[in-house]
């Protein structure tokens, strides 16, 4: 106790999530909102950029956007005007700063109602935290006049927060809060966090892949917001976002490598393994609001009986309310939890399955991933919205062909690699086949060290600690000192509760991948469980800078604070109490499974079943 008290007296205060004055938005505005809104000032010198911007989601983020307005109006009706600050901090920052959003009646005719996120929405950001919900500081005071001091203008407009990407985190990470009508605090979409944990941020604690080039938000998404304008036009930034393969089929329960023209007996039950790997995106794919997306697998089947197109599952998240009813119109205040999330983290893969009854004879499959910016239910809601809109909520949504299935035989190793990756993070039942896929990938040429990390991931999840350690030990020394190797070893130890043994690996993994919040969580948990609360507290501090609302880190921080008699322990408990995961999620999911077909297929490997492909076939 003496030691603990001594430590406590010297302990730095704990960083705890704190909302700002505009809560439930975390935005801070310094200076005149009217100055903030002056887009024309920028256009005078930066016409091409302004033109590009005008066709982006940033330019149409505000009340002129029917999809946003549809959602906003329901939220305001249900939860009140103040609750809508949550939305406006990122969608209508000027209206928020002016207090317009606090008025009971929404002023759709306001001169700034269609402002969107203007130039200074990004270029005016001088600071941002990882809290999300608009956790940026925009300062438009004393902006240098480029006509007088161009260098000062450039320096100010290219602030470090913008060049290193941190300016983006304020609005590209969300949390649902009771203050905006949600039943409890929930972490929401998190493009920023996904990027931090990826190779694009320079470190990777998950896979032993060739590292992608380092890139921050603005390296990919420039003024034209490529990838963020699909509501306005097909967007070819998506072209390299992910890769799609169809490596194998299951014919009457047996795996068969797919080759075009594969002969399948009539009446056989066929399940197509289509795997999407996020090979080109620094955040989950599709990015942004996972529940609004309509990114769907389609298969064109060519058979002797004819050709037919079938839809496969979609890559998106499915939120549910307190009764387990899916919330498909993006009404965040009604969301109580998530029933599914089939968006794909950076570097990872998602398996999508399509089942049908074979018509008999050779089969040829053309697969494609089609993206529309909003799922049909949200699109239908937007079509009902009226007001001075600059976009037509009833017009057909642009469709982007993200990618088509890669038939190249030379890529089969990568295809089976992706299958193994996808299965390695699915259910326990999928893991043995994941190992089989991995063996196939190695046979086809996948580098063994890459495969060994995935193998160890699977073995670790199965509790086969000795085998997991053996496979990691076999990785050549020159590549073994990698965040993914250390983190995978630690996870294998943690799966069997060998907390003390996991610690050295976690210490090294966090050194090598310091931006991986997930690894800090594991480190903190292992340190606490092994009886080292001071070390756990330090790990929490590091992790919470990256993810301030993380419920696990907040819980462990509070426990560790208590164990070390930290003076802020009560505050730490209060922070955890606010951010802890809700109880009841299982109940809501179960209710959802009973209520809803999409929910019934919410497992980690979604499947759509089509039965006979041609009407006259008998099942």
């Amino acid at each position: 106790m003496t030691l603990a008290l001594a430590l406590a007296f010297g302990a730095p205060p704990l960083e705890l999530p704190a909302e700002g004055e505009l809560a439930p938005s975390a935005a801070t505005f310094l200076g005149d909102p009217a100055r903030y809104a002056r887009v024309d000032d920028c256009t005078a010198c930066h016409k091409p950029m302004a033109r590009s911007w005008s066709r982006t989601a940033h330019a149409h983020a505000s009340l002129d956007n029917p999809w946003y307005l549809a959602s906003l109006q329901v939220l305001r009706n249900d939860a009140g005007a103040i609750a809508s600050r949550h939305c406006s901090g990122c969608h209508d920052p000027a209206l928020l700063a002016l207090g317009v959003m606090d008025e009971p009646e929404l002023d759709l005719e306001h001169p700034l109602a269609d402002l969107g996120v203007p130039c200074l929405g990004c270029h005016g950001v001088v600071d941002a935290s990882g809290l999300g919900n608009g956790s940026f500081v925009v300062d438009v005071r004393d902006l240098p006049d480029p006509r007088r001091d161009l260098d000062a203008h450039r320096a100010r407009m290219k602030s470090p927060a913008l060049t290193n990407g941190t300016a983006c985190q304020g609005c590209h990470r969300g949390a649902l809060l009771p203050e905006m009508g949600a039943p409890h605090v929930m972490t929401g979409f998190d493009d920023w966090g996904a990027w931090q944990g990826s190779g694009w941020a320079g470190t990777d604690a998950v896979r032993l892949d060739p590292a992608p080039k380092r890139a921050t938000c603005t390296d990919c998404h420039g003024h034209d917001m490529r990838g963020g304008r699909t509501v306005i036009q097909p967007d070819h930034l998506l072209d390299d976002a992910v890769t799609l393969w169809i490596p194998q089929l299951w014919v009457d329960g047996e795996p068969v490598p797919y080759v075009p023209g594969l002969d399948v007996p009539e009446g056989a039950e066929v399940v197509v393994d289509a795997v999407v790997r996020n090979t080109g995106t620094g955040h989950r794919f599709p990015g942004g609001l996972g529940d609004t997306q309509d990114t769907t697998l389609v298969l064109d089947l060519h058979t002797d009986r004819g050709e037919v197109r079938v839809d496969g599952p979609s890559l998106r998240a499915l939120p549910i309310d307190l009764d387990g009813v899916p919330v498909r119109e993006h009404l965040p205040h009604r969301i109580a939890g998530g029933a599914a999330d089939h968006t794909v983290p950076p570097g990872e893969a998602q398996l999508l399955q399509v089942a049908f009854v074979a018509p008999g004879g050779p089969i040829e499959l053309d697969g494609a991933l089609l993206h529309r910016p909003h799922r049909p239910e949200l699109a239908a809601a937007a079509c009902l919205v009226t007001g001075p809109l600059t976009l037509d909520g009833c017009a057909p949504l642009p469709e982007t062909v993200v990618t088509t299935a890669r038939p190249d035989a030379a890529e089969q190793a990568e295809a089976f690699h992706a299958l193994a990756l996808a299965r390695s993070r699915a259910r326990t039942e999928d893991l043995p086949q994941g190992l089989a896929d991995l063996v196939r990938a190695v046979e086809l040429g996948l580098p063994e060290p890459t495969a060994r990390v995935i193998e160890a991931r699977i073995l670790g999840r199965q509790g086969r600690i000795d085998e997991a350690l053996r496979t990691l030990d076999a990785i050549p020394a020159q590549v073994a000192d990698h965040g993914a190797v250390h983190a995978t070893r630690a996870k294998a130890y943690l799966a069997v509760w060998r907390f003390e043994q996991a610690l050295p690996s976690l210490r090294r993994a966090t050194e090598l991948a310091p931006l991986s919040a997930d690894t800090w969580v594991l480190y903190a948990e292992a340190a606490l469980a092994a009886g080292h609360p001071e070390e756990a507290l330090d790990a929490c501090a590091e992790g919470l800078v990256l993810r301030p609302r993380d419920p696990d880190l907040l819980r462990i921080q509070a426990m560790a604070a208590e164990a070390t008699a930290h003076p802020d322990s009560e505050l730490a408990w209060a922070a955890w109490d606010r951010h802890k995961r809700p109880d009841g999620l299982d109940r809501w999911r179960m209710a959802c499974e009973r209520l809803d077909d999409e929910c019934a297929l919410r497992g980690p490997v979604p499947l759509t079943f089509h039965g006979p492909l041609f009407p006259e076939e008998t099942p």
Partner: protein, 462 residues
């Protein structure tokens, strides 16, 4: 605004806590797990052995459960599933070698006599020591509280201060759970609502459902009460799917063994000896004792599961109560506190058959345990009764096996899960009771072959 990770939540097995000084043991844990998709319904029945004063069971749970999440089950459903999946002892009688041979009659009679026809049927103050009571309700004979704890020693202290006799090493194990934010389900039995049988509390099985992509069964806490080898019997019901362990060696129980008639006197002891021998020769292994469609059996030691049973065990939540859909697998593990390793993690396994079929004319069971597209495997032991009557014909047909000469269909004996290591004497006699070899056991010299000899067949045991 949703892109969360669907987080894993782990299953659990608990331990008992009792009044101060209570001597509580948890020798045999029987669970039934229904699995479909990522949803698991876990029903637990623990044999409690201790005083009739108040006692409780502590089970880590992934989240705060509400009254609707917890259900007590009739003990009969556990008894039924135990009987259905338990190893069985059957008897075959050699049919009269001189009886008229009508194929359908012989076959039909033999099948009927053996039951071959498929049977189908439809606390202290809240907040003390960092412990918070998150929920409180009563279900059946249990008063249930759901606790969260700020630290493991606080929980340990809270339970001790509440008058429970926590196993010594509980705090160490609890620490891991507490660090992971696990909640604790404390099912305290109200003595006024529980029935006792010969001093032994008759506890209702408890059922809990949860969602977890990992299909496993943590066993750490359950070991804390073990006073010696502990048996864990896991029945898994899954849609046309057998399961085995992913992180332990797997073996099947030696089956289709012919045994001496003396086994009939104490089949349970005999089976325990077979099981112990199997564990001895497969260190750390988990033994598959049964895998079969839950709506059928052969031979049937009792009724198969019906729709109500399946619903009780979780079919109501999983939306399918047809027993023909669900394959019942029985896995038997035996641990000591010292050998405790990792949680059990299950994986799907291909179908197997074994422990079926009739003796051949030589009086041997020829079917091997082998992979199959279906699951029809059971631990089966057979007493054969060669024909001892007169041979009143010139060309007797030997080696036709069926029911007893007197007719009728005696049900097979079963070795239920209650029988514990150490209770039996059969191990040392195992060799003399077996007529077929199994690894590590040599049938006693002088044991006579079952092969019917021309003429009078002497008794097998003398």
């Amino acid at each position: 605004m949703i892109a969360w990770l669907v987080t894993a939540a782990h299953a659990f097995c608990g331990f008992y806590v009792g009044g101060a000084g209570a001597d509580l043991y948890n020798d045999a844990t029987v669970v039934v797990m229904m699995r479909d998709g990522s949803r698991t319904v876990l029903s637990m029945q623990n044999d409690y052995e201790g005083p009739t004063s108040a006692f409780a069971m502590v089970v880590p749970v992934p989240e705060v459960l509400s009254e609707d999440d917890v259900k007590t089950l009739p003990r009969e459903v556990f008894a039924k599933i135990d009987t259905l999946a338990a190893p069985r002892l059957v008897e075959y009688w050699e049919q009269d070698p001189c009886a008229p041979l009508y194929d359908d009659m012989v076959l039909g009679g033999a099948l009927r006599s053996l039951g071959y026809e498929m049977e189908m049927s439809a606390a202290p103050d809240e907040g003390d020591y960092g412990v918070t009571i998150e929920a409180k309700f009563a279900v059946g004979e249990y008063d249930i509280v759901i606790l969260s704890a700020k630290d493991s020693s606080g929980l340990d202290t809270w339970l001790r201060k509440s008058g429970y006799n926590i196993p010594e090493k509980a705090e160490t194990v609890l620490r891991g759970y507490v660090a992971q934010g696990t909640k604790f389900f404390v099912a305290k039995v109200d003595p006024d609502r529980v029935t006792f049988d010969k001093g032994r509390a008759v506890l209702s099985p408890l059922r809990i459902a949860y969602d977890d992509e990992r299909f496993g069964l943590p066993v750490r806490l359950g070991m804390l009460n073990a006073r010696g080898p502990q048996d864990l019997i896991v029945h898994i019901l899954a849609k046309n799917q057998r399961y085995e362990l992913a992180n332990k060696p797997n073996t099947t129980i030696p089956t289709n063994l012919r045994v001496d008639e003396r086994v009939k006197k104490d089949f349970g002891s005999f089976y325990e000896a077979v099981l112990a021998n199997t564990f001895r020769h497969n260190p750390g292994a988990v033994v598959t004792e049964y895998s079969w469609q839950s709506g059928s059996c052969d031979p049937c030691p009792g009724p198969t599961l019906d729709g109500n049973d399946v619903a009780s065990l979780g079919g109501d939540l999983l939306g399918d109560t047809d027993p023909m859909t669900w394959t019942l697998t029985r896995l038997h593990a035996r641990y000591t506190a010292e050998s405790l390793g990792e949680d059990l993690v299950f994986r799907p396994a291909e179908g197997i058959i074994g422990g079926r079929g009739m003796p051949d004319p030589e009086g041997r069971f020829t079917e091997k345990v082998q992979p199959s597209s279906m699951n029809q495997f059971q631990g089966r032991y057979a007493v054969l009764h060669p024909w001892t009557g007169k041979l009143a014909c010139e060309s007797p047909q030997r080696g036709l096996w069926g029911g007893p000469p007197s007719g009728g269909e005696p049900p097979p004996g079963v070795a239920r899960s209650r029988l514990q290591a150490g209770e039996v004497q059969a191990a040392k006699d195992l060799a003399s009771l077996l007529l077929d070899p199994i690894p590590g056991v040599t049938p006693t010299k002088g044991t006579r072959p079952t092969k019917p000899a021309p003429g009078l067949i002497p008794e097998l045991t003398e």
